[in-house]
Each structure stands twice: as C-alpha cells, then as structure tokens.
Subunit: 113 residues, 2 copies
C-alpha cells in the first residue's frame, strides 16, 4: 500500500504546494484553468490536474462560462483542518509558556549571582 489517495482527503490535497498556491489565488476570485496556469507559471494540463484534485475533495467548485470553465474557492473543506490544528493550540501556547518560564528563571538566576 502506498500513501492514502490524495483524492477524497483534504489533508492530502493541501499537502501539495502548488495546490495551496491555487487556493490562495482563488481567494481573489474565480479563474479559468488557463488563467490559473498563467498566473502561477504552470502548464495547462498541470493546472487542470491540480484543479481536479481540489474539486474532488470539494475545495473548489466549477461552473461553465462559455468555452471556459471557471473555478471558484469553496473553503469550507479547510475548516476541519483549521479545527484539527486548533485542537493543539493550548500546546503551542504551553511551550511558549514553558519558554517564558525558562527565561524568567534565567533572569532570577542572574539576579541571584
């Protein structure tokens, strides 16, 4: 068995840097496949394939517009990722606190010398 399918898994879909770039780009509004390819410096098939993955996990939606197909952001799928990482928020604050405590300790020690 290899890595879990990139399809139907948002975590895998956003593991690809170029796909993250596409999502960021689409925050500015809908884009056609060719526009995505041009603005991000990728080939047309490349853009099309990445958009396919993003569509399959529901991060983008598409609609026909003449001979073009416009892709738009559907960021709701990112919410679970945001919430999952948010479940660790106390821990990175904690390590911050630990570091802070450590620094405070250093200060104390210096004063005592």
């Amino acid at each position: 068995m290899a890595r879990a399918a990139t399809t139907s898994d948002v975590f895998n879909a956003i593991a690809e840097p170029q796909r993250r770039e596409i999502l960021v780009l689409l925050r500015a509004g809908e884009r056609s496949v060719t526009e995505v390819a041009q603005e991000l410096g990728m080939t047309q098939p490349g853009a099309s394939k990445h958009l396919r993955v993003l569509r399959e996990v529901g991060l983008v939606c598409d609609r026909k517009a003449g001979k073009q197909r416009l892709y738009g952001l559907d960021a709701s799928g990112l919410r679970p990722v945001h919430e999952w990482t948010g479940g660790f928020e106390q821990f990175w604050n904690e390590s911050f606190d630990r570091l802070d405590a450590y620094v405070q300790d250093l200060k104390q020690t210096r004063k005592a010398e």
Copy 2:
C-alpha cells in the same frame, strides 16, 4: 519528480492519518515507541518510522529515558497550518452566509405562497 518530500514539510507530515493519530495520542503525554505502537495498533518499526518523520519536521521531540526513548509533542509546528487555513476563515463564513441567505429566501418564498 514525485510528491515533495514528506520530510521538512509539516503539511505533508500531517497528511498521513496515522501520524495525525500519533500527534493526538501525544497530547495525553509522552510515550515510548512501543507504547505508541501498542496503543495505536501499529508495528514497532511502523511507529518508529512515523515518529522519525514527525521528529524531522519538528512536531515531536524525543529524550532518552533508560533503555526507552520518550517522544513528546511539540505542536508549535502546527501553528503555521492553523494560520494558513485561518486565512480562509472569511470564505467559509461567507459560504455559510450565502447558505443562510438562501434559507431566508426560501422562508420568504413560502410565506408569499
């Protein structure tokens, strides 16, 4: 070229379901490799390899404890992911608003009938 190396990339590291499970487990405190393997039903080499990846991207830290090696959570690396997804928060609220507007619209239409 294949997928970007899982090493040195937090997004890729957490793309693996088992690695996410490990991180969740470690929220409860440090664990040895064997404990991780047992509690999550994976083989010892399997746990070791996943922990290696997590260590290389800085999501866990390890310390020697007798003949064991204890792995602990270092969640600060998850913060960028949390923030990156947070950059889309307005967009999933937006789609929520759109849905809400749609529902309101439905209500109006019913009333009018």
